[in-house]
Structures are given as C-alpha cells and as structure tokens.
Assembly symmetry: D2
Homo-oligomer: 359 residues x 4
Amino acid sequence: MNNQYGNNLTLSVFGGSHDDEIGMHLGGFPAGLAVDTDALLALMARRAPGSTSLGTPRRERDIPIFLSGISNGVTDGGEITAIIKNENRRSSDYSFVYDTPRPGHADFAALVKHGGQIDLRGGGKFSGRLTAPLCIAGGLCLQYLKEKGIEIGAHILSIGDEKDRYFDPIAAENRLFTALKKRPLAVIDEAAGERMRAVIERARAEGDSVGGVAECMIAGLPIGLGEHMFDGAEGRFASILFSIPAVKGVEFGDGFGIATRRGSDANDAFYTDGVNVKTRTNHCGGILGGMTNGMPVLFRVAFKPTPSIAKEQQTVSLSRMENTILSIGGRHDPCILPRAIPVVESAAAIAVTDLLLDQ
Amino acid sequence: MNNQYGNNLTLSVFGGSHDDEIGMHLGGFPAGLAVDTDALLALMARRAPGSTSLGTPRRERDIPIFLSGISNGVTDGGEITAIIKNENRRSSDYSFVYDTPRPGHADFAALVKHGGQIDLRGGGKFSGRLTAPLCIAGGLCLQYLKEKGIEIGAHILSIGDEKDRYFDPIAAENRLFTALKKRPLAVIDEAAGERMRAVIERARAEGDSVGGVAECMIAGLPIGLGEHMFDGAEGRFASILFSIPAVKGVEFGDGFGIATRRGSDANDAFYTDGVNVKTRTNHCGGILGGMTNGMPVLFRVAFKPTPSIAKEQQTVSLSRMENTILSIGGRHDPCILPRAIPVVESAAAIAVTDLLLDQ
Amino acid sequence: MNNQYGNNLTLSVFGGSHDDEIGMHLGGFPAGLAVDTDALLALMARRAPGSTSLGTPRRERDIPIFLSGISNGVTDGGEITAIIKNENRRSSDYSFVYDTPRPGHADFAALVKHGGQIDLRGGGKFSGRLTAPLCIAGGLCLQYLKEKGIEIGAHILSIGDEKDRYFDPIAAENRLFTALKKRPLAVIDEAAGERMRAVIERARAEGDSVGGVAECMIAGLPIGLGEHMFDGAEGRFASILFSIPAVKGVEFGDGFGIATRRGSDANDAFYTDGVNVKTRTNHCGGILGGMTNGMPVLFRVAFKPTPSIAKEQQTVSLSRMENTILSIGGRHDPCILPRAIPVVESAAAIAVTDLLLDQ
Amino acid sequence: MNNQYGNNLTLSVFGGSHDDEIGMHLGGFPAGLAVDTDALLALMARRAPGSTSLGTPRRERDIPIFLSGISNGVTDGGEITAIIKNENRRSSDYSFVYDTPRPGHADFAALVKHGGQIDLRGGGKFSGRLTAPLCIAGGLCLQYLKEKGIEIGAHILSIGDEKDRYFDPIAAENRLFTALKKRPLAVIDEAAGERMRAVIERARAEGDSVGGVAECMIAGLPIGLGEHMFDGAEGRFASILFSIPAVKGVEFGDGFGIATRRGSDANDAFYTDGVNVKTRTNHCGGILGGMTNGMPVLFRVAFKPTPSIAKEQQTVSLSRMENTILSIGGRHDPCILPRAIPVVESAAAIAVTDLLLDQ
C-alpha cells in the first residue's frame, strides 16, 4: 500500500488533520522550474480555511515549507518534500467520534478496519485538510505547465440547484481562467454566484450543508497524451480526482449526458481550415481512445454536501450498541465547493504533468 | 508506460483487434483457485460478438487458451497468461482510417501521436475487442470472489431515454444477479428491456447508434477495503472502469445526484439492531473515506454511443487536407451496452480482488 | 509480488520447467526495432541444452513464438509476449524431490513455504530453464542496443581453478565480443579453454560438478546512465544478475579486489587528449556514483557448481524424518558456465536498455 | 525515475550533503511499533561523522526529527517522514570540483549528465551522508525485526590486508551482534582490530585511504522469504546494498569462493535431528532459489577506499581542457568501513522487512 499517485511522478501526501505537520513528497518532478512563491501562496490561500465568508471560520495560514528538492528557488530534480504546520487545532472537538461515528464520514469504517486504533481527530488522514499538500504539488505542476503553454481553469458549475454557465467546450478560455482565480466565488456568471451564496447561507442557517459540481478545463494540451486502456488519460484523471474527499462522480465531455445521445450527435465531426484538423463540438471532452485529441480537456466532478452538520442525525453508540442522536459542533464549511476549486485545478495539473512525463 | 492495472495484481492486456492473438498477463493472482471453465466461457460468451441479436453479426468464439499459471485446472500462484485467437477478421475494411479518421474514434490522435505508424485495423489496440482478455482476468476474479462470498451483478440502467429500475441500494441482490446473467438483455424490468430493444433497432435502422448507462452492485464486501486518498476504493474502481473503451462517466452511490442534496439528506444515518451497525440508505454507494463501509458498493458507468455508424459524417482527408464525407461500413453494434455488462462486472471484480489483496 | 524487472521496462518470465510452455512478457520496449530472427535464434542456441558437448544431453530447440508486440517483424510498441514450447520432458525423474529435497536446490524451502503444494518437476519455476525466456528479452535488447552503438560481450573467466585472461578494462573489444559468440567455449585464451574442458570432464566423470566466474563488458555507453542510490546502475545490474539461478556474487571493476587497495591506487585518474576526458585505468568498472562514466562497464558474476550431481549426498526423508542418501540421476550439466554466458549478456542488455529508457 | 526501494515498502531518501536538511520518506511501514529512540540514536551515532578516532573530524549530531507517521511514539501506519538538519557544512571546500573533477567520485559523470547544472558541494546527493537517512529507516526496521526474533549483525571482515575472523556460518550469533555494536571498531577478533587501526592510521598519515570488506549475518529468519527470479532475496539485498556509496561487490555465502568448488563440496547436505531439518554447512549463505532456507543469511560487501585523498592525483581542468594535479583538502575518512557497518545492518534490515511484508 504505497498511497502514491503517478506513473512518472511519485506523489504521496502525509500526516493527518491534527498532527503537528502535514506534507507532501514528490519524486520525478522536472529540474529547472523557478518556483513563483507568490503564485503558489495565492493558490494555497484560495483553498485555505477562512478564505471565503462562506466557509469555516477556522483559519490556517497554510504556508508550505520546502525541505528538499528546491535549491536557490529552483527545482533541482531531487525529491521535493514540503510541509505545512498545523495550527489552530481543537482536538477536544473530536473525542466523541470513537463512540458515535459521524454519518457520511470515514469514522465507522476506519474504526472497524483498525480495531479502534486510529487517529480520527479532525478526520485524521481522511480529512479534507490533506488537500492542502495536494495543492503544493498541484501548484508546482500548474507553474510547470504554464511554461509549456498549458493552462487550467475550474469553476463552480452548480451548488444545490443553482447553476453557473458551462465553459465553452471548444475555446481555450485562458483569460477567463485568470479572472476566475481572482473571484471570491469561482463562477462565470456572477448572478448565479449570488444565488449560490444564498443557497449556502440558507443551508448554514439551518445547520445543514449542500453539495455541488465543479467543472474544469485544460487548454493548450498537445495531441496524444495518454495511452489506451490502463494508462488512458480519463482513468489517470479520475484516479486522482476521486482521491479528493467528498468526490462521488467524475465525467468527461458530455459525460452521463452522452449516454442519451445518438452516435451521429455524440461524435465530434472533424473539419479542416486547410492547416489544422479540428472539431466544432467537444462531446468527448478532449479525450478519445485514452488520448488527448487536441481539443480542450473538459470534465466535471460531483461533490457531496459536507457531512459534518449541526442538524441532529441518527447514529449508534458503539460502546452501548444503542441508537442515539448526534449533532456535530465545531467549525465546518456548509459547502465545500468554493474551496474545492483550487484542489480540482491542482489534481488536474498533477495528472497532466504525469501524462506529459510519459514522453 | 507499463499499461498495467493493480496495486497487488499486475494485469496487462496485449495485442490488437486484428493481430493473430489478443491476450492478458496477470501477476499476483492467488494460488489455489480451481477454475470453473464453464463459468468462464459463459462470461466470455455474454461479451462475445454475436451474443445478442442486437449486436454486430461478426462472430468470435473467444475461447481463452491458458499458457501459464494454471496447473491441473488450478491457479498455481505464477503469472497467468492467456490468449484468444482472433478469427473472422476483415482487415480490408479499415484501410480508409489512415486518411479519413473516424469521428469519435482514437484514429486521429493515434495517427498524430505515432506519425502515422500505428496499426488501426479494427481499431487496433484501441478496440473494444481488448475487453475480451479483460473478461478472462475478470472471470477468474469473479470466481475467486464468489468463494469468499462476494457477488457482483450489473444491468443496463438505461439506453437512450429508456430506463430500467435501479438496484435496491441496501440489498445484496444475489438472486437477481444470477437471473440477470441469464437474460439476453441484462435488465431488471423486462418491459423496459423491450423498449430498449426498440430504441436500439430504431438506431440501427437509421444507420445510427445509441449510448446508455450500466449500474453495478457488489455485495458481501468486508468493511474497510481501500485506503484514504490515492489508494481509495473509488479511484481504484474508476481507474479500471475508464479503461473500458467508450466510458465517459463514473459515479458512486447517488453520484452527480448527491450534489444537489443537503447533507441531512445525503448522509447515511447509522442504526443498530443491537448486533450490527447498518444504514437504511446508501447515498454514498458503500464507500466512505476511500473505504468500503459494509453496505453494497454501487456505481454507474456512462457509455457513449458506438462511434462507428453507417450514417454520413464529416471528416477530413489528411492527405489532401480537405473536408470530406465518411460513411462507415463493416459490422458494428448499434449499442454497446448489452455486451458491456459482463465487462463492467469483470472490471469490478478485478478492482475488488486487488483491494482484497491489500491485506 | 509482481516478479517483474525494470523501472521503465516491465519484464516478467512465466511458466515452469515442466509446463507446456514457458515465456516472457515485456512491456515498455521501444517501437520500431526490426527483429533479426537469425541473431535471436543464434543467441537462444548458445543457451539451449545440448549446445555444447560439455552440457546436458537433453536437447531443446527453444524457438521463441511471438504472440504480441511484433507486427510485420517490427516491434510495435505494445507489450511483447513470447513463448517457448517445452519438449523432451521426463517428469518421472522428479517425483523423489517431494520427499528427499536435493541439497543445493530450492526444493526444501519451496516445500516448506508452500506446504508441499508446488510443482518442482524439473525444478519448476526455480529451474535454470527459465533463463530461456530471459534470453528472448535479452536478445531483443541486444539488438536494440547494437543499433545505438552499444555492444555487450561476456566470457568464462574461470572454471574451478582454471582461468581465462581478463578483458582489457579500458578497451571496447567489440571484435573480440563477436569472436567469443562463435566459439563453442566462450574464452579469450583458447588454451585456458582446453584446461577448463578437462576440469569439466573430470567433474562429470566423477559424478560431480564445478562452478566458475563469468566476466561481462559493455562498450559504447553514454556518460550518465543511472542515478544515485536506489536507481544506481550497479544495483540495477545486480538485481537482474542475481535473478539468474546459481549466481552467488556480483562485483564491478576491481570488485572485492578493490577492497585491499589504497585510494591512490583505486581511483581512476583523469587525463585529456585535448578533446575528451578519459581514464587510463578502470578500477571502478565504468560506474561512479551510480552512473556510467564513459568507460566500458565491467563486472563479474560468480556461479556455484550445478547442484544436481550423481555423487551420493546426504539428505532427509521428510515423510520419515530420517537421514538418507540421495544420488541424482537425470541429465544435468556438470558446469553451467558454458551455457550461462548468453544469459549474462542478456541480463546485461536488459539492464542497459532499462537504464537508457530513463531518459 | 522514482529512486525508491521496496516491493512493499516505498523508501526514498532526499536532500544533498550541503542542503539544509536531508531526510527519508518511508511508506508501507507497519503500524504499532513503539519506537525506541535511544536505540535509534545509538545506531545513528555509530554512523555519524566523528564517531571514531579513525574517521573524519567533521562532527554531525544526526538527530532524526520525525514529521509524520509516528503518533505518541508509535508508528501509525502512515508514511513516515524524518529529517536531519545538516550542520557544520563548509561549502567553500567544494567549488573546485566543477572544474577539476575528483577521481573516484561522481563529479565528472554528474557534470556531463546535467550539463554542469548540479549541486556537488560535499558530494551533493552522491554523498555518503545520504546513508544517514538510510539508517533512520534501517533503525526502525531493525526494531521491527527484533520484535519478531530476527537479529542482524555486521562486522569489519577486512581492511586492506588485515582480516577479522568470519562469522560462524551456521550459528545465530546474537550475543556477538550485541557486543559488536558496542565496540569502537566492529571486529570479532580485537587483535585484528588493532592491526586494522594501524593500517588506517598509516594510510591517513600518507594522505591516502584504504578499502575493506564488511560481513553481515541475519539470524532468526523464517523459511521461504523471497521468490524465484526477479523477486529473489539475493537480488533484493544486492539492490539496496549497491545503493550504498563505495560498494563495488556483494556476495552470498561462499560467494566468489564457491565458484572454485565442486558441487559435492558446495551443496549444503541436509540432516535431521528427528525434529528439524538443518544443514551442517552454509555455503549458500542461507538462500536457495531466491528463498531463505532457514539458515542464517550471510553476505559480504566490498567497499572501495575513500576516493577523497590528500595525496596528489591527476585530473583535468574542464575549462582549460588541460591535465592538472589535484590534492583534496577537507575532512575525510581514510577508511569508510568503521562507519559503514551500521549502514550495512540498516540496508539488510530494510530488505528483510520488505521481504517479510510479501506475506
């Protein structure tokens, strides 16, 4: 069980929510990238607790400290190790989970699996907090890709029933990507953003939470990244996307929608302007036969509602083997989407970097 | 680029649609399984071309020939190598794809990637035919799991807009699994099956094709299979499911539907009957924190319509760099779903076996 | 337990000595090599039983049959699968090993490990016969390397106390490599070869066997193959060399001899002819810091005497738990060195190809 | 290029000699080991610079700082990350190596490989200093193995021409192992140790260095660890042993000496005392067919003389492409053997732990 990602990269993420540090260890990253610290910190800040008024009031500064792999600000080809200090922990909040597992959390399965011997404070290693070191690796990859003309953007496509507009599936919307990264809520249609805000606030007021969907686009990819079958691009994206806590679905291009189409309406017809071969549609999401086809890669990721809610829930007291009621206190996001966007971008960037390193 | 699946198993699939043989090589499979050849052949037959009146008239017998790893009918702990002879090929059908890539196929990306030097007859290594060796591995895994009380069933949830009923998410429907495997069309509601049949026939009559969704359930799993993050169960299922050609989406439990729910309505509340801890709902699809939680695992897979259609499509003559029209002859399934069901079961079985071997 | 070799290649070898087939499965091998079948068969013939008058009278033709990965005689970038039919087996010879394990063989450890449930006929998967598929992979790699100007030669440095002369450590003796491959006994000094022959014949006449040392040189390597520590060249060579049955020692350059030297006498001083940087000695065997340094790579491999001997040996009847006497019949090489030379070349070629593919 | 060790463990070592930190990252280590910090520090101290009067006067305290994987002093099943602060560096000592590569060092190959862009201060990542983090991993493994009744000892078998006595190959000399760990020079025969001391002092006085051989024994192993061919025990030991800088040879049991024997004299005959099956000799070094056979594992490792010597050596000025003379200042061990012994024990322990985790 190595818990690593990558065919060429070897990424592992370590520590738990309430350890002194969490961190990441990344082998195989190319030498020669001059790390833009400001850009990295900006990415981390978008994911950090307290980054939006919609999230948890728990604040972490989330400053990555590099222990190896970066010399004089430049990646040196060695394994990159980075840590983040965990601050602002309140471990006492979590003693109850050992007896009354939280619905929607890993608690029950983890307790059974480990015979009760596992650190579940703050969610332990199952916590969404582990996406912070994922963003360190992702931040480096985003910078590496940008130098190669590959840009990645993501936005909140929906929260509850409120929807943003879709990315234009055949356009490389780099300018939009930049704009989205600066908005407090990463939505294209700011009016939709206002409605989403209201949905979140309503859920919070009711001690509840709400889920949503993120959409991500990758522009500037060369043709032919990925291989058939087990090394296919879709599987390699999906594998890292499903490692983000709370993700329950991943689809490319038209995704589940393509299942209701006819072939004549789902195939992306080719045309040429005399120089290049293109398609006018992108139902396939930029991937055919496991390979990128030159169109932007486009996928969507479904996030479940934050499972920690103040509302009363039914659970079981394991010590007494009796049904009981649980209301979860503490500081929790009523919706994970606003902070999940940079995590999706990071996961995408790691997958693309690994795909590029096939060659 | 090893094109292998598995943390514990090492599965590779080799050959192309129009080679003499295709096959699979499987390391790490446990010793001691007495292979039930009839069951294996029955699985292969469900996937084979010509297995239903709805599919391609191209017939392949698809008999696996084991070259290693099975002694006296029992797996011996060594690498298992098996091949299938490719019969009934008509390579002449495919000469055109080098100049006029088929929309919805890997042709264009593969030609660019390999500078034109790649065998695309019958789809080459990108062909759905490669799912036959996947079923050999899957068939062995299904038998291995059955001995451990783990059963896997799948059905066609939808074709076009016609829908079967869902699996009951909290029931281990083993008897239903057995029944489904015997039906010509793997549907729970046979009336829905009739309507699906009509949808497929209509598409075929119009020289078109149609997509659909498969649903799969795994019953009898122990609690705690899978790990957090990169070794999470969802990612390991998704990774092999996306290696099946034509798959564009994978979701667990409520999947994309969970994104519109409130946490109070998406968490699966625990209760006890005094002995066991269970949930009355299964929104999470049997996986929390990357681990199985004791409920059946439940996921859905979106398949796009078969890209090979007789209807005219726009494409480009690469030699002349001109727009042109293509109509694909040959023998193609108007809908891949009927034959995809045993492939989904196989992929699931391989993933579960690999998860079990973590321990 | 994947039993594979390679960071970039994925080589596995399957089957056992008395199965119908043995074979190899090789992923990651570059596309585009036009396979020289004659050269491959010549390599296989040098290793095959009956290849010299000094070996076992058991004859195998050892013709590789390629099942995948080679199209129209050219490697196509897919996984390469090849088998060899096992002919001329006499399984009855081996029934005794289950009760009276042969000294110097894997029998006892294998029986304990597998609770008696393991095929040991002909040595099963522990047999030197498994080096035949290793030579298939090695033969492909040797051809791939030759196209890049990298040549590999090996000879018998010693058998018993009789010694051949050493390779000149700073010369790329390509012409000698070619000559050695044609000699019935791969020795530089043919007079030494005659003495070795006598040593082998004497051992055979006495129902005994004898060991020896092989020396191998790799010429034409670029500078800088290999990495520090775990990906170092020495470890990657050693790892595959120790997978050859009967190998008990591996040393590079001066090897164990360097341990008695002073640094002033063990370092290879640099000099320049104004254009290149070279060394006049090669104590390091062409590897420093895990990397090739531009000098020929030079290593030696110690082989133990064939453990199967006709002479009486003490062993134990496991069923009666009593001491007993064993005399091994059957057809065995009194010395493995003559047939081991192409295996050492093959192992070296596989390791070098894997090192080259780092880049 | 992941630069990792292990089939089951994933060990990587990071940083360079003159970075702020060096460290190790270890995945797959079992949960539940209560770490004995004193024992770990004692192991580190035996390897540390300045540990003996015979070594470099450069002193490093080498205190491991654990960042993850250990909770309340017990391994928690997560990835273990540990760092050591580099103190007492004098980087100015190393500026010359970029123009005048040191004979016997990685400098020249590394400069060519990386186009001059590589940190070689203190040897950079090629430094023997990287064996310090290897000892952290090894120290944890040694403790893990001790709990299972497996003990590892090593001693200096020779320095120059002076020899210690061999381990008794069929005895588990646990008491001797403990004694050796406490001696300033790890030798069995202390008179031989005195002579070795003199050899080292003489080399130092002459501005020279000297090599030697280490012998290592592993007692208490179960029968059957390791697999045939690529997962064989010998190859897995050799792979990590050759990752120790300065190692040029590895042999098991009689090693190169077995090559001059007859089979009748090299096979270890079995006998029984009515209860167990044993051998009276251990020519094979406790490994047959890639598997441990129940006897102690025994191997020897050849170390070259420290390449950094004060004596004048010939090298080349790369900028002027002219022959020149180099005399290396700085603080260097005239013989690496005294400090290499705990490194050999550590490497052995890591390999054994990985072998045990096969099961």
